[in-house]
Symmetry: C2
Subunit: 393 residues, 2 copies
């Protein structure tokens, strides 16, 4: 693993989740770090999201994250905000970090209030758990319906030496990032100015984490927060270095995005929906999202059924501007439909083996415009229903 | 049944579907009737939809419908259009009606071409089946994944005497009418001018059939077509009569809309999502559709789980303009959330019995604006997945 220098990670079981699972995690930087965050566009932002936004707006540096699963602390009103601040106070004392340098994040059931006694009881254990090599435990502590923890690390060589990036995230349902529908935490040991770090994060999130959909639901708690603490001693000062670091950040976020869709609740497939030739990127995105969110496309993916008419149907109701006769559809590189007409040939034969794979590329050309969008989408399965019909019981 | 005067109905098994099921239907009026239609907004309109729009644009009168299930004749290009016209010629000859007075409609798999031999072979049987009392068979012949046929009839007393309306429809999946996601055929024996009949239909469809969602997919073949043949001898000439007839048409369409959601593929619940206090009807509709299409709300409905946070979350990402602190949520008349805070009380206890019912009213107040929308939505179940993963096999 490419663990950035100057960070410690920890996790404990605080009984927010059942069966003694890890559900409270923290990441602490030895020195305050430059921070940038991107948050949900949902009108009902969770208490920790509002808290983070308020804190990041101060423009100061931050020393780490306090993250719990099991409860989202969303739709919890003033009491939820007060509880959120109180958890930061408790953790700051236990971890020996100023309370206003800890960024909170929560995930889990919406609408329930924290049990503060559990938080208090968990603090000594959390403090004891902090080590440089337990990022895996922190990644496990933030899981809800995830079946695997999600980490991605990269080391990139800049002019002044190597810097390391480590990303972790959780997310398997309520996933349709208009911003970023999950929790994701990036640590980096480069020394970089705050504005460049923020610009890099926004740009990369928009082209990775924001281009996935599992169920079209944008959560109340989505947060991507990235720290850069400079512990590598390597300054990111030139355009070339910034471009290299941006590429590394993109790689980390792209890997996390893929891992989210791979681990979609009940999911068995990952569709790479690649729309091109649109009049604008926004039109391309409308088509990609309509196809990626269509329950009929998603169930056909699950059934490995080359029922391509459903893809065209979804493009047709997406609201994007294009001429129906210009649309060209390829599945796994096989041309299926163009000029308003199905291609000749036995599509079941041609597409059968492609549809039975886990990763399936759906290429949709809308015309000759410059607009494009690539979206990763999961399938929709009986298991998704089971998970979400019985989530709280 | 309130069978309108002057119509005959029929159906045969033409082998478009398997197992000898009825799959070809016709409705014929003894005299040409005033006609009005509303069609899918999907960019990929099926051949019969394009054909109907072209025919209705002539402003002439029409003598009936020719409807098949099993194949949608959508995404079939010029050959699909030619085949559609040829089926009208075949049926016109068999049913002794001018070919340009028969309105076509199709439903089933997208992308496959008609087998014209089957059409030709089915014509004598279709002609023989036509009687005044076989509307039920026609309603059965237009079913695809529907588990029940759907009819609704009303008799309304106007100044000049009684007139009768009969509606039939099919639809259980690919249902999210931006216009009308299904096939629906209305027959009426009133004498009414074409403009008034069209205005009535558009208005009623918009507030009934267009306000349901099963899976958010708007099909390529949606059609609501209504005939009024005047066979009752009753003229609809006064505003009062028009209002009475409009009310009767609304009742028929509302009943059909409910039946569609009741028969949702794999569905076990009907949610009545009633949004009020919005700044505009459009904003209210955004919220209603976000809630009604959310897979997480739908699976919670299926699980009878009072997981109300998912409803608020969906309202929050709907894109509608409103202040988060103004939202008020009631489920089955029980106040759950207001002022950004959950109501006190054990919601699982209070809402449990409500959530276990089949019909569930979800009331969402967004503020004090005049905008409102009522949407009927189904739940999302394992059975929906099974039906659609294996639809063609």
């Amino acid at each position: 693993m490419n663990i950035p220098k100057g960070y410690r990670f920890g996790a404990v079981a605080a009984s927010f989740k059942k069966q003694g699972k890890l559900d409270l995690g923290a990441i602490v930087s030895d020195t305050p770090a430059v921070a940038a965050g991107v948050f949900t566009t949902n009108k009902f932002k969770a208490a920790p999201v509002l808290q983070c936004q308020e804190m990041l707006n101060t423009g100061r540096k931050f020393s780490g994250f306090l993250i719990n699963s099991g409860q989202a602390n969303a739709c919890t009103g003033d009491l939820g905000r007060a509880n959120c601040r109180e958890t930061l106070n408790l953790a700051a004392k236990a971890l020996d970090v100023p309370a206003d340098e800890l960024l909170p994040a929560s995930t889990g059931v919406i609408g329930a209030q924290f049990d503060m006694d559990k938080w208090e009881a968990a603090m000594p254990g959390l403090a004891q758990s902090m080590t440089v090599d337990s990022a895996e435990n922190t990644a496990k502590a933030i899981m809800t319906t995830d079946t695997v923890h999600k980490l991605a690390g990269v080391t990139v060589s800049l002019a002044g030496g190597d810097v390391r990036l480590l990303g972790m995230c959780k997310g398997a349902g309520m996933i349709s990032p208009k911003m970023a529908t999950m929790l994701s935490f990036i640590t980096c040991d480069a020394a970089i100015d705050a504005a460049a770090w923020k610009a890099m994060l926004v740009d990369c999130v928009d082209r990775t984490i924001n281009r996935v959909t599992i169920d079209g639901d944008t959560s109340t708690n989505d947060s991507v927060i990235a720290l850069a603490n400079g512990a590598s001693g390597v300054d990111v000062a030139t355009d070339e270095d910034r471009e290299l670091l941006r590429g590394a950040l993109h790689t980390v976020l792209e890997e996390l995005a893929y891992k989210i869709v791979m681990d979609a609740e009940g999911g068995t497939k990952v569709a790479f929906i690649e729309v091109s030739g649109a009049q604008s990127d926004a039109d391309a995105e409308l088509v990609a999202r309509a196809v990626g969110n269509s329950p009929l496309v998603k169930t056909a993916l699950f059934g490995s059924d080359p029922n391509w008419g459903r893809i065209i149907c979804a493009a047709g109701y997406s609201g994007a501007e294009f001429a129906a006769e210009d649309l060209k559809l390829e599945i796994g590189g096989v041309l299926v439909f163009q000029n308003g007409t199905p291609e000749p040939g036995d599509m079941d034969d041609l597409l059968g083996p492609i549809m039975r794979k886990r990763d399936i590329v759906i290429g949709i050309e809308l015309g000759t415009g410059p607009g494009a969008c690539r979206l990763l989408a999961s399938d929709l399965t009986r298991e998704y229903i089971s998970i979400n019909a019985d989530y709280r019981s």
